[in-house]
Subunit: 355 residues, 2 copies
DNA sequence: ACCAGGACTTAAAGCGCTTTAAATTGTCCT
DNA sequence: AGGACAATTTAAAGCGCTTTAAGTCCTGGT
């Protein structure tokens, strides 16, 4: 982990200052210090440290050693300024979303592979998208990867003039933006196929409210139901993305007398609300009623839920987002591209045969 | 949200280039552009934009307008380089932790109040603490706020030579580092007090494994039990921070014949495992057995769990962390400081009277 | 009129690096 | 030995801002 840092600690001695707060913080070594140590110009040192071909092997070795001895670490701000490139991809996230967490993880590895770094800026209750994006821009991000932005399409289009924008996880109608997302309707279709295959016919859908995603998923439900000849059983209950909505919907069903044999919810949170309400009413899942969610949320994996759900292939989306950014930045692709991935149904324990 | 960006869009016209990818990206306006527009020097513009007193009101207004017209936004990298200050606090997080998410939220507001910005660097499966911290340093963070670091104390101490380190959420024995944390033993003590007050005597504790935090909580349990004269009932079951561990522990209790009247778990994840196992065995909670966790995790708030737990006052910890950093940076405090906050018991629905 | 002093402005020198053109060194022929 | 050419190395000019010392202009006072 941090152990290697000790090398840098030794270097402090050279600086004369032992304690940080004694005679001011010991200045971090600069390129010049490394250069002086090996008796070369800063230009050569810079070349070596960046792995640019040119310097002789002997020079290379000496510089590397000197840099290591001093615990030298390039100053990003200066490099960025001088090279006119930050090699930074700005990523806007909602730090509370487990799914975003997963995306970030993969974005990191994908970016690293192509020599870019990430700078994260999160939304919070008091930090809106504009602020978050401005921060990314202030850091000179070369491209903006926005996870689930809610800003209107035209605002995003304007933003795109400052730096290529890659929208992840949200459908955007006819703009020149790059978009990476999964086919939400297809995810629900797979769920319905799965349930229908198990013999279910009365499959209720708990809606996710307004928003493109909710719309797509709802459409997926309707279309799939019809395709299975279950058009007459289509039944959409109002809901949203919360657990509370799921409970409400389930209670509604319970109060209604006859229960459907399966409930598909807009997302996992909502599905869990359904599960909770059913459990409280003593309805066996998946014995009497099957339940499915969407998102493959961390929640759904908890053994106490073990929810059948739809996974959005975070890894693939992350890779495509980074690729899109790199194509814009290094291969001057000009035409926008939309990558629509197919989600994957994850069958767990809340769905079972019926009939 | 992003709507205001449109102003910047208009400015593009001046640049001659309409499309981003036509004749190269339209360069973002520089200080010089703003200065030229109002016929002043860049020095004056800089002064105005930073709110430094000096420029006349007339100048101030004109500069502000010009900057707005151009959609000017200062380049952080250049400012940092020139001023030798980044006014950046580096924050190391585990992006998958809901608790860290909460801390970050409050860190943002606390930092903003004192004129600092945050730069986040997360741990992932393939990104260790060293990498995360190096990134923060490369951005020239002036101080490092590390959320739950696992690096050994001496490594952290060395790091502290590069920039003041503030450790959050972890106890560190005698170092010169600033630490902000909550009293873990006290949190468990409060839980035990609560349960004992409800008449419980047989209170089992499911352990959290090794690590300072687990140690503190376990100690809190033991001490509190003794204080209530329940020393004979002390019973610690092996476990860790996972749901699986909770289930295992609960099954062990179920197999053991007589159940305790209350189970206190190392954390919420673990507590939820306990809940799941008990539910599966048909044991009523809190009817027959009361259960409590620790962390006030998002999970614990789900209505289907509604778990009694201990909250770590994220807001307070965040504020103290930022304050500590600012004291180091702007008020040259040299003596290390440890802030130990008192956690707060959050009584929900899994604990009830007994006896 | 003339000058001190206040109110503004600005020229210019960096910050720590990258990059390009030019200089230096070394090598190999003839 | 002299020169061409390749291999290295480096001087120097920035990158876009901040900052400080040094102006420039007025205002009044005398």
């Amino acid at each position: 982990m941090l152990h290697q840092e000790i090398r840098a600690g030794e270097a402090q001695v050279e600086d004369g200052g032992s304690g940080r707060h004694q005679s001011g913080a010991p200045k971090r070594p600069r390129l010049e210090d490394v250069a002086a140590r090996v008796g070369l110009s800063t230009a050569s040192v810079s070349l070596v440290l960046r792995g640019v071909p040119g310097p002789s092997e002997r020079t290379r070795q000496r510089v590397l050693k000197a840099a290591a001895d001093l615990g030298y670490q390039a100053d990003r701000t200066a490099s960025t300024l001088a090279s006119r490139r930050s090699r930074l991809l700005g990523v806007m996230i909602d730090i509370r979303s487990p799914f975003h967490a997963e995306l970030v993880e993969h974005l990191h590895t994908a970016a690293e592979e192509v020599g870019y770094d990430l700078v994260l800026s999160t939304l919070t209750r008091t930090r809106d998208e504009r602020t978050a994006v401005d921060t990314l821009l202030a850091f000179r991000s070369e491209a903006l990867i926005l996870l689930g932005p809610t800003a209107p399409a035209d605002a995003l289009a304007v933003l795109d003039n400052k730096a290529p924008v890659i929208v992840v996880g949200r459908r955007i109608a006819d703009t020149a933006l790059d978009v990476v997302r999964t086919a939400d309707d297809d995810g629900v279709r797979q769920t319905i196929d799965h349930l229908a295959g198990l013999g279910h016919r009365e499959i209720v859908y708990v809606d996710g409210g307004k928003g493109v995603i909710a719309t797509d998923r709802r459409r997926g439900y309707r279309t799939a139901m019809r395709r299975h000849g279950l058009g007459d059983h289509i039944r959409v209950l109002a809901g949203d993305h919360t657990e509370a909505a799921g409970e409400r919907a389930a209670r509604h069903l319970l109060d209604g007398g006859r229960l459907p044999t399966a409930v598909v919810a807009y997302n996992d949170q909502c599905a869990i609300g359904v599960l909770a309400a059913l459990a409280r009413a003593g309805v066996a899942v998946p014995g009497e009623v099957s339940v499915a969610g969407y998102d493959d949320d961390t929640l759904s994996r908890l053994s106490c839920f073990n929810l059948t759900t739809v996974s959005q292939s975070a890894r693939e989306q992350a890779r495509h987002a980074v690729t899109a950014a790199v194509e814009r930045l290094d291969q001057d692709r000009a035409e926008p591209r939309e990558v629509v991935l197919t989600p994957r149904l994850v069958v767990r324990g809340t769905t079972a045969g019926h009939g």
